[in-house]
Structure formats: structure tokens, C-alpha cells
């Protein structure tokens, strides 16, 4: 991935009205507008609604498989990062990225074990756009993945029926947010929660699965079918 593409991967969330001026109508209107924006983004993605690819399933199992898919992608990325460190990597950066790799492997293996026979297959990744020898390329991709993961879990919480699964998703998403903050600070100190991640109301992003997968699919050879996932 080129540096400038990374920057544009995630839209800014800072264009909502200020919370202090929000009336009830505006409050829910903003929520609705976000949903509409996401729906528009999803409808623009060619082939988003076809039935090709690995079926993530329905209900809570589908949501967990969706998370499992994202954790597979993240884990595969950091395994490669640690295996072939970018040139000029510092000892501290290597230690951090090794920790992150282990966390993502732990997440991946957790979902695999929890889903058991309901788990989707191991996914094939496509990292051809990433230059693993280049710090900017690697950290730019890491930032995109971590921010994407945060918005994915934030958007998936409401899709879950089981409070236990919601709690576990919550246990993971805050670790992803810690990763996102650290990676952002490695790229640009102080950017841990800047306005490209957190809007004027102090909220992180939240994305629907189809919007997350339309971004993630650029890094996956295996096609995923999210058509049976819950939508609310």
C-alpha cells in the first residue's frame, strides 16, 4: 500500500454537529445520517450483495466469524511484520510489534476455539500492496487495520444477542484501540486519538460489517459472504 492511500483509507468523523448544540432530533438525525452514509458506501461497492464466497453465517455465530476473519487478517499481517522487520526498525518498535502480533494471534485462536465446528476456514491473505521492508508502508497498514478493527467491533456490538459475547468483544476492542493509539503515535507522536479517528463529540468510529469488509477485502484472496449477518 502506498502511503497516501493509507491516509485516505479511513474517512474523518469530525463533521458531526457539536454535542452541546444537539437537540433530540439532531442527536438521532446524526445517528441516522451515519447509517445512511454507510449504506451508500456499501451500495457503491460492486458485488457487495452477491452470494459468492465463504458464508460467515447468521446470528451471533456469524458476528463471531466476522470477528474471526478480521483477527485472521491482522494476525497474518503482524506475523509477516515480525518475520521480515522493516529496515531501520528500533528495538522498542520490534518489541511493541511482537506484542501486537501475539495479541492478534491470541484473538484469532480464541475465536477459532470458541466457534469450534462453526468456525470459517483459514483465510488466504493478499499483502501484495504492502512493502514489508518499508516502515511507512508497514505502520501505515497497521494503523489502517487497527482503526478499522476498532470501528468494526464498535459497529458489531449491537448485532450481538448474547451479553457474554458482547463483553468478550468489549475485552478485545479496547486492546485494539490501545494498539491503534500506539501505532499512530509511532507514525506521528500525539496522533493517538486525533480527528481522523475521533469526532468532535469525542466518539470513535463505528462501521457496519459490509463497510468493514469492503475495505478488508482488498487484503484478502478468500472472498467473504456477509449476507446472512444480522443488521441490527
Amino acid at each position: 500500500m502506498k502511503d497516501n492511500e493509507t491516509k485516505d483509507l479511513l474517512p474523518t468523523f469530525n463533521d458531526g454537529p457539536l454535542a452541546k448544540n444537539l437537540s433530540r432530533r439532531k442527536f438521532f438525525g446524526w445517528m441516522g445520517a451515519s447509517a445512511a452514509l454507510m449504506a451508500t458506501a456499501a451500495s457503491c461497492k460492486k458485488g457487495a450483495d452477491n452470494n459468492d464466497g465463504v458464508d460467515l453465517g447468521s446470528g451471533d455465530i456469524g458476528v463471531l466469524n466476522y470477528a474471526y476473519a478480521l483477527e485472521q487478517l491482522e494476525a497474518a499481517f503482524y506475523v509477516q511484520v515480525v518475520k521480515t522487520p522493516y529496515s531501520g526498525i528500533s528495538t522498542q518498535e520490534m518489541a511493541y510489534l511482537t506484542d501486537v502480533r501475539d495479541h492478534e494471534i491470541a484473538h484469532r485462536e480464541f475465536f477459532k476455539a470458541a466457534l469450534s465446528s462453526k468456525a470459517i476456514q483459514a483465510l488466504e491473505v493478499n499483502f501484495s500492496a504492502i512493502d514489508f521492508t518499508n516502515r511507512t508502508s508497514v505502520l501505515g497498514t497497521a494503523k489502517a487495520f487497527e482503526d478499522l478493527g476498532v470501528t468494526a467491533y464498535n459497529g458489531a456490538g449491537k448485532l450481538l444477542v448474547s451479553p457474554d459475547y458482547l463483553t468478550i468483544a468489549g475485552k478485545i476492542v479496547s486492546v485494539e484501540a490501545r494498539h491503534a493509539a500506539l501505532i499512530r503515535d509511532l507514525i506521528s507522536p500525539g496522533s493517538f486519538a486525533d480527528m481522523t479517528a475521533v469526532n468532535a463529540m469525542g466518539l470513535d468510529g463505528a462501521r457496519a460489517p459490509k463497510d468493514v469488509l469492503s475495505i478488508a477485502s482488498g487484503y484478502l484472496k478468500t472472498k467473504l459472504n456477509a449476507n446472512n449477518l444480522p443488521t441490527s
Partner: protein, 283 residues
């Protein structure tokens, strides 16, 4: 007109008024509890709230949702007031440090405003606190909180890590309302970003980081990374490595250390646990 007269009047147009009130036992209980404390002049408002709850539609936010949002608002007031005083303390180094704490202060203020708006929109009454509601020395436990930068950062880290655990623990209480659940999650991850950055700041600063502790943006075992036992309650339980009946250490034949297993999942705190942690910070 006393309460019985009001109810009698309502009964003429709604024969089921007593059933409605009775099936909302918590409303009556809360009213009885509150009426012991509130001023006479406030009773009409309390009554209005009681009837609003009794007659609210099935889709209206429930008491548990409003209580949870008010609990979150209480924590956000605590954090916002802390950072307002911290940024104004004059002891924060210029440049990156003051910039970061200002960003965090602004987020916490935004959370206060967001939750106030959300609670009001849901027909609830937001709790309200002012600067004088708080004692950030925790009644003498941190006497130098606004004169010693290391202490200030340590308290900030503890607030953020505790906030993450508090939101995580409350999320299931918001499951009946998708909008509020999602918004709470969107705040939760921002608190985690703050926590990570404050940990980086403390690592760079070095003050109050115990010898031999490698402070990271994530929480290792139940280590606070702060050289005092006063904050330990905010970290107890973080050493958990069993998730949903699955042991994370060396899971699936992977070399996942005990430390990494604990770091990879943050743990929730109950409302009671959080209340016990933050109560000393209220005046």
C-alpha cells in the same frame, strides 16, 4: 392537592393507573427513595418523571439504560474536571505533553456534553457535578496531584484504565437500545486510546514507574505500573487469561505467554467495583 388526589383524578380517565404504577415497581421505589431527599418544591418534577416512566412506550429507554448513562456521565464529569484542573495546573511540560492532555480534556468534556444530550433526549434527567464536587487528592491519598507531574500522570492513567473497564462492564446494560450501546462503545474505545497514550507518556517520564516494570500501552497481568498500592483495585482481575471457558495462554499450540495472554483481553469492572474506586475522588 396530595399524591392520592392526583392518582384519583388520573383513575377517572385511566382505570389502570395503579396497575401501571405497580408494574413499574422500581419507579415507585425510586420515587419513595428520592422523595426522602428532595425538596418539597421539586416534588412536582419528581412526580412528572414518575408518570412519564409509568406511561412510557415499550420502546422508550428503560430505567436501567438511563441509570447506566447517568453512571457513565458521572465518570465523565470526574475525568473532565480532573483534566480541566490538570491542564490549568501549570506543571505540565509544554509541547507534546500539554497538547496530549488538552486533547484528552476536550474529549472528556465532549463526552459529558454528549451524554447529557443523550439522557435528556431519552426523557431522563442528567446528573450534574461541578468542580467543587471533586477532591482529586482522594482525601489526602494524592496530596501532590496538581503539583507533582508524576502523580498527575499516574492518576490520569488510573482514571483512563478504570474508565475502559467501567464502560466494558456496563455495555450489557445498554443492549436494549442499539443507539446508546453503539455510542457507549464509541466512547469506550476512545478511553482506551487515552489510556494507551498516558502509559506511553508515563514510560517516557519514568516517575513512579516501579523498578523492573516494563510499562506498555496495554495492561500486563494485574500490574498498574504505578509505585503505590492505592490504585491496585483498578488493576485487580486484569491478570485473567480464561475467556469464555477458553485458556488463552499457549492457545492452539501458539507460543502465547502468560503476559501476552493477559494483555490481549482487557477486563470489565462492575458498577460497585468502579464506585468503590472513584468514591474517594468525590468531595
Amino acid at each position: 392537592m396530595n399524591l392520592q388526589n392526583i392518582l384519583s383524578e388520573i383513575e377517572k380517565t385511566d382505570p389502570e393507573v395503579y396497575d401501571r404504577l405497580d408494574t413499574r415497581r422500581s419507579v415507585m421505589k425510586n420515587f419513595a427513595k428520592a422523595s426522602g431527599k428532595i425538596a418539597i418544591a421539586a416534588i412536582p418534577f419528581a412526580l412528572g418523571s414518575m408518570f412519564q416512566k409509568a406511561y412510557s412506550s415499550p420502546t422508550a429507554p428503560t430505567d436501567i439504560v438511563l441509570d447506566t448513562l447517568n453512571f457513565a456521565l458521572t465518570l465523565e464529569y470526574l475525568e473532565a474536571n480532573f483534566y480541566i484542573k490538570a491542564v490549568a495546573s501549570g506543571i505540565i511540560p509544554g509541547g507534546a505533553d500539554i497538547s496530549a492532555l488538552t486533547v484528552i480534556r476536550d474529549h472528556e468534556n465532549a463526552h459529558v456534553n454528549f451524554l447529557k444530550t443523550a439522557i435528556t433526549a431519552a426523557g431522563g434527567t442528567p446528573v450534574s457535578f461541578t468542580a467543587s464536587s471533586f477532591d482529586f487528592t482522594a482525601h489526602g491519598t494524592f496530596p501532590t496531584v496538581f503539583s507533582d507531574y508524576g502523580v498527575l500522570l499516574a492518576v490520569a492513567q488510573t482514571f483512563e484504565d478504570t474508565g475502559v473497564r467501567a464502560y466494558k462492564g456496563q455495555a450489557p446494560n445498554l443492549m436494549t437500545n442499539n443507539d446508546y450501546l453503539t455510542a457507549a462503545l464509541q466512547i469506550h474505545s476512545v478511553e482506551a486510546r487515552h489510556a494507551a497514550h498516558l502509559r506511553e507518556m508515563r514510560k517516557a517520564n519514568g516517575a513512579l514507574v516501579p523498578a523492573g516494570i516494563n510499562l506498555k500501552p496495554w495492561i500486563t497481568l494485574n500490574q498498574s505500573g504505578i509505585a503505590t498500592s492505592a490504585v491496585q483495585a483498578s488493576y485487580n482481575g486484569e491478570e485473567n487469561v480464561a475467556q469464555g471457558g477458553v485458556t488463552i495462554t499457549n492457545i492452539g499450540g501458539q507460543a502465547i505467554s502468560l503476559a501476552a495472554a493477559s494483555e490481549s483481553f482487557d477486563e470489565p469492572l462492575t458498577k460497585d467495583q468502579v464506585t468503590a474506586i472513584v468514591t474517594p475522588f468525590f468531595a
